[in-house]
């Protein structure tokens, strides 16, 4: 009695500790947990861009379903509201007036910002050339645009800066705001202050957009029918989290209800149901607590995976209860089934251990969660359940679950050939599969529906939003060093642009030149006397009056005496965000990014960039890097699955020793894996990493059934004694109960993983579908291929 109390006490204390740990563990749904932990530097940049780059903060907004004039007013009203909100760094809807602050900043600092500023720029001949150009512009249709600026900026610095500011993209415009080309939707481009990984911040920003839209719709006449569409990485991140959270909650609930229903059906006892769920509940608590303790946070997907544990860990209690003969005590059953249970659990743990070694934080969490969960569930089944049961407790359930499998036994002689034929056909179909085996798009790992991705791509095209694939990266010890390095690179790129290999590039130095460059430009400005003298000579013979340039002399002198432009000066303008995303902290230093536009031939350009001979310059092809990333995931998944599979085989070999017994366990497993892979390929054409891990889990889970089928002490089925199955079952005793327990356990596993396959989150869907299918086939093939002892 005291031992039993001790066991129950330890168990309860363990649960309390687990609950406490969980209470202090933060939950997270950042999908970058499913990006590798130790990628190459270029991949780290990619991951950083996904987590906090400018693209990760960009929301595209479309206003639809109202007359164009109403949509245009709505766009203005919405933009005005959002511009007052601190949560948004940039709100752009095409209104020129919105750029006032940027224009003012550029105007005030034009002599520090313009790359044209050199000592020669203000010499007599250079001024003369500038004045001639001014006269040509004045006489042209653009004259009205330059007339006002000319007395203060005869060298035209502002015009050049404005051309850069306005950029290359010109979305269609109605009533002065951006529209899609078909005129059906007004477009806005909004950047959140919250970075990509700050999903709470992004959710708040999105909610604000919806509120502001509702308010604007009430104010604008004829806009009552208007609707709002948002897209972009922040929207995806928030939706992903909602999906993951929703799926984890909903699917767990459904699986629990279904498994409980099956158990009730089998045992017709609420008490047994509660007892059977104790190992599962303990396992889930311990698993989450272990992940929290090891990683410091628990990913939402790990919780979603808890569903599978429900189906998997409930097996142990099922084996215990169902394999206890009527009137017998579970405690007496335990010694008999314990070796098989233990070996089955160990093979499962081996399979999940492969995930533990994964570079994906997410997979490692799933592995640890499941391993601790299974260990706990088995331990609770082995020690706590008997301790909780009264001496005379008996819970043997219905054995009619065994009927279909017993039928398989009876027809095993010819069914074996069917299994063999099906497996060979499956092997052939895998071998002859024409398309690539593996999913090669990183987006296949995203929980975002294809329709939403397509919408995103369409709006992005319409608005001309950056869809940057190629960029150059240089590092520096600090911000200034990185800036200076980027300026050296920018200088080398001019001939590359001239050759047409690239259309252009962005650089942080466009809006924030390094202090050295600014100082050089400031030093290049002549004093008022010199400038006035040069100008007086240059103006002779130009048709311009000589006495209109007082503002020019004043502004140059002010710039010469003034402060350099600092990063803080950009605050409150969209230029701040542009600079911050192109110039970021990275590791212990800083990196400057130079996105390249209109790249003609990526690989050729890579060679050309190498030939520039700038030390430390990295040419980054984001598409290729993301593909490489996926390749390296897949390589890792293949290796880990292979190693996991081998470890399972080795474990079985060591435990079973007899080659015939080993084969009896491995053959059904191999057949099930091959058939599952063939069916998945036939269904979706490609296999994802998640399918691959799923196949490993098929081996880990399915081996349990095969081990039971293979148990040598089993008596052969006795011949059917009557016309009904029940008579037959009653006659077959232990074996029927064993089979019933396997079917029940399998049913629960298939329910757990099968429910998971309805998830919209690819990792959950992929693993769920694979394991549900594979585990079912394992039971089927295990029964058919089980050793015959006649």
């Amino acid at each position: 009695m005291t031992l039993r109390r001790l066991i129950v006490g330890v168990w309860l204390m363990g649960l309390a500790v687990a609950a406490l740990t969980i209470a202090r563990t933060p939950f997270d749904t950042d999908m970058s947990a499913f990006l590798p932990r130790s990628p190459r530097p270029a991949q780290q940049l990619l991951v950083d861009q996904l987590r906090e780059g400018v693209v990760s903060r960009l929301i595209l907004v479309a206003l639809e379903h109202a007359p164009p004039a109403a949509l245009a007013s709505l766009s203005r009203s919405l933009a005005a509201k959002l511009r007052q909100d601190d949560r948004f760094a940039v709100v752009n809807n095409g209104e020129a007036s919105a750029m006032t602050r940027e224009r003012d900043l550029l105007w005030r600092h034009r002599y520090l910002l313009s790359p044209a500023v050199t000592p020669e720029h203000f010499s007599k001949p250079a001024l003369r050339r500038a004045l001639d150009e001014d006269v040509a512009l004045l006489g042209s249709d653009l004259g009205v645009l330059v007339k006002r600026m000319l007395p203060a900026d005869p060298t035209g610095e502002m015009l050049k800066l404005l051309q850069n500011l306005e950029g290359r993209s010109h979305p269609a415009s109605v009533g002065g705001v951006w529209f899609t080309h078909d005129g059906a939707s007004a477009l806005l481009m909004v950047s959140t202050r919250a970075a990509g990984f700050d999903i709470d911040g992004q959710e708040a920003a999105l909610n604000r957009i919806h509120e502001a839209f509702d308010a604007a719709r009430r104010e604008v006449p004829d806009a009552g029918t208007a609707t709002l569409v948002t897209t972009g990485p922040p929207v995806f991140a928030v939706e992903s989290r909602a999906h993951i959270k929703g799926d984890a909650e909903r699917l767990s609930l459904i699986a629990t209800v279904l498994v409980a229903g099956v158990l009730l059906l089998a045992y017709r006892s609420a008490r047994v149901l509660v007892l059977a769920l104790l190992p599962v509940g303990s396992g889930i608590l311990a698993g989450i607590a272990a992940v929290g303790a090891a990683f410091g946070f628990v990913h939402g997907i790990t919780l979603g995976f808890g569903v599978t544990l429900i189906g998997e860990a409930v097996d142990y209690a099922i084996y215990l209860f169902t394999q206890t003969p009527p009137g017998g005590a579970p405690r007496a059953t335990l010694p008999r089934i314990w070796p098989t249970l233990r070996l089955g659990m160990l093979t499962s743990v081996c399979g999940f251990s492969a995930m533990l070694a994964s570079n994906f934080t997410g997979f490692a969490q799933l592995g640890l969660f499941t391993i601790i969960g299974l260990l706990t569930a088995l331990a609770v089944t082995r020690w706590v359940l008997p301790a909780l049961l009264a001496e005379n407790f008996s819970a043997s359930g219905s054995v009619w679950f065994a009927v279909p499998v017993l039928a398989l036994f009876r027809h095993a002689a010819w069914l074996r050939w069917v299994v063999l034929g099906v497996t060979l056909a499956a092997l052939l179909s895998v071998g002859l599969h024409r398309a690539p085996y593996w999913e090669s798009e990183l987006t296949s790992m995203s929980p975002i529906p294809a329709a939403e991705t397509a919408l995103d791509a369409r709006l992005r095209r319409e608005i001309g939003a950056p869809d940057v694939r190629y960029m150059l990266v240089v590092e520096g010890a600090d911000r200034e060093a990185a800036l200076a390095a980027s300026e050296r690179v920018a200088a080398r790129l001019e001939p590359v642009i001239a050759s047409g290999a690239i259309g252009g590039f962005d650089a942080p130095g466009q809006w924030l030149p390094s202090q050295a460059t600014q100082s050089a430009r400031r030093a290049a400005l002549p004093d008022t006397q010199t400038l006035a003298a040069n100008l007086a000579q240059a103006v002779i013979g130009t048709r311009l009056r000589g006495d209109i340039f007082a503002p020019f002399l004043t502004d140059v002198e002010a710039a010469r005496q003034g402060q350099l432009l600092r990063r803080e000066d950009l605050d409150g303008t969209s230029l701040a965000l542009q600079v911050d995303t192109l110039l970021t902290r990275h590791g212990s230093g800083w990196v400057a990014l130079l996105p390249l536009h209109a790249v003609v031939d990526g690989p050729a350009l890579a060679g050309r960039i190498d030939a520039l001979g700038v030390p430390g310059l990295v040419f980054l092809d984001l598409k290729r890097e993301s593909d490489n990333l996926l390749d390296s995931y897949r390589g890792e998944a293949l290796t880990l699955s292979g190693v996991g599979g081998l470890v399972i085989v080795a474990l079985l070999a060591v435990s079973l020793r007899d080659p015939r017994r080993i084969a009896a366990v491995l053959l059904p497993l191999a057949a099930a894996v091959i058939c599952t892979a063939a069916m998945l390929l036939a269904g979706s054409q490609r296999l994802s990493i998640f399918n691959l891990f799923g196949l490993l889990l098929v081996v880990a889970v399915g081996s349990n059934y095969c081990l039971f089928f293979e148990r040598p002490y089993l008596k052969p089925p006795e011949p059917a004694a009557g016309p009904g199955g029940r008579v037959c079952i009653a006659a077959s005793g232990d074996r029927a109960r064993m089979v019933a327990s396997l079917v029940l356990a399998n049913l629960c596993t298939v329910i757990g993983f099968g429910i998971l396959s309805f998830s919209r989150v690819p990792v959950l869907h992929g693993i769920g579908a694979t394991v549900a299918l594979g585990a079912f086939l394992c039971l089927l093939f295990g029964a058919v291929l089980s050793p015959r002892r006649t």
């Binding site: 249709d141 004259g143 645009l145 006002r148 002065g176």
Partner: protein, 204 residues
């Protein structure tokens, strides 16, 4: 740095140009020697012009220059709403108004695109142009006070913006013509600058 002011000025100027253009196309030689000739008759005649081409010479008299700046080229109007001013000398450039968009192209530079409806006051200017082209006298007189001098054989139409903030930029647009054909457009800006365009409706 007030882009708004310069844009309004630009539109005022282009308004003048557009007004210049549509009658320039009118070479129909229609008999206009009606007994009671007035603004309504002039508008009716001009609005019936579908399309056309003319040569122009433009002189700008600016405060900041010591001598006028001269340019020349070809004006085109294509129904329904496309207007084009192609400058050939001294430097080639092209200005196009199509729908809501005004585009200026110069060789070797990216095109500049300006939305005409950027602001309501500019919308008023454009509405004036469009109303005139459509022969919509009511709308034209809503935005401008008009005064017509001379007779059908040689007339002068003065347009003064009613809106005060447009008057701050353009004080008067003076159009001269003969029959359905325009012979000149003069724009007086409120800062004293002046643009004169003479139109020859018989190319070559």
């Amino acid at each position: 740095m007030t882009s708004g002011a310069s844009t309004r000025r630009a539109v005022a100027y282009w308004l003048a140009f557009a007004l210049a253009l549509w009658p320039a196309a009118g070479r129909a030689g229609r008999d206009i020697a009606a007994p009671r000739w007035g603004l309504a008759e002039l508008m009716a005649g001009l609005s019936r012009v579908p399309s056309g081409t003319a040569r122009f010479v433009e002189r700008k008299y600016l405060q900041m220059t010591t001598a006028p700046l001269q340019s020349s080229g070809i004006l085109r109007y294509v129904a329904p709403d496309r207007l084009e001013k192609q400058t050939l000398l001294p430097q080639p450039s092209r200005l196009t108004i199509a729908g809501d968009r005004l585009t200026v192209e110069r060789p070797g530079e990216p095109a500049r695109v300006i939305s005409l409806q950027e602001r309501p006051e500019i919308g008023a200017l454009v509405a004036g142009v469009r109303a005139t082209m459509a022969g919509d006298l009511t709308t034209l007189t809503r935005f401008y006070t008009t005064s017509l001098h001379g007779d059908a054989a040689g007339w002068q139409l003065d347009l003064s913006p009613r809106e005060p903030h447009i008057r701050e930029l353009v004080s008067i647009i003076r159009i001269t013509g003969s029959g359905d054909a325009l012979t000149g457009v003069e724009t007086l800006e409120s800062d004293g600058d002046r643009t004169e365009m003479t139109i020859d409706a018989k190319p070559k």
